[in-house]
Symmetry: C2
DNA sequence: AAAGATTGAGAGATCAATCTTG
DNA sequence: CAAGATTGATCTCTCAATCTTT
């Protein structure tokens, strides 16, 4: 029930973002992670590990986001094998707009129905759950 | 955080099912819904509405499951436009095996970390959430 | 014409193989 | 040879168009 519900909600949130902002949920994901990173930049490999299961997936994702002007690639001067993904000004703007929509959705579908104490209990419990689930996940290929 | 956590857990559960039973999570989904239906049979359209966003997706999903021998199609005698998806004996067996794995996963990742009162609070709250999210979802195409 | 299911084309993601730099 | 990123092949799912039955 938890899983079905969350799945439905995520689905709705994704749809709203797509419809109102023309932004796929993955793009939002990328922008969020970039915002949290120092200098709003991350290595391809690191970013891939945070949001997808494959590096190749990120290559194509960044392709389209670069076309849309939200991020750009920057070859590293130090180690010329690595590439940084950098958020552009347009990317930051898009992130802010998207966040408004996303937060409104969270509020509407989720937070509104939970009492404060429930939220606290939930947060504490899920912290555990999340750690457990992440721990067992192999880095790239599953064994 | 709720969403990220649940997403990670669903991911793990899907992986385990795939690795240990060779069963994609969607198949499990189909079998579960069939089990709950009267006579373990459902119309293509109804099943599609419960599991996917498109009827065409179900067509192909049932194709592969039929090849694997877990379900079969049966043309209706009454209205020859409709087709029932019926669970086979092999399908029922596969369902039972898969359920053991799935339940074990739920227990490991989820239930173990939640106290009884949390579970109750959660279930009550999520009931609300689920209703809200489902209500606004358009049947096939989003407007 | 409408309901039910399928088919063809295209978007996104993964795996394995490849290319480049260290 | 190893690390980092990309490319090619393939899988699953969606949308729009089509075929069949009512």
């Amino acid at each position: 029930m938890v899983l079905e519900t969350t799945y439905t909600v995520m689905d709705r949130l994704g749809d709203e973002l797509q419809r109102e902002q023309g932004m796929p949920i993955r793009w939002y994901d990328v922008l969020l992670h970039l915002e949290e990173a120092p200098d709003a930049r991350l290595r391809m490999t690191d970013l891939a590990a945070q949001i997808l299961h494959s590096k190749s997936g990120l290559t194509r994702l960044v392709d389209t986001m670069e076309d849309a002007g939200l991020v750009r690639r920057e070859r590293l001067t130090s180690d010329r094998r690595g590439i940084d993904v950098v958020m552009t000004a347009a990317g930051l703007e898009a992130l802010h707009a998207a966040r408004r929509i996303h937060r409104r959705g969270i509020q509407q579908y989720f937070a509104r129905h939970l009492r404060d104490e429930d939220v606290k209990a939930l947060a504490r419990a899920l912290e555990q759950v999340h750690r457990e689930a992440r721990t067992l996940r192999a880095p790239e290929g599953r064994s």
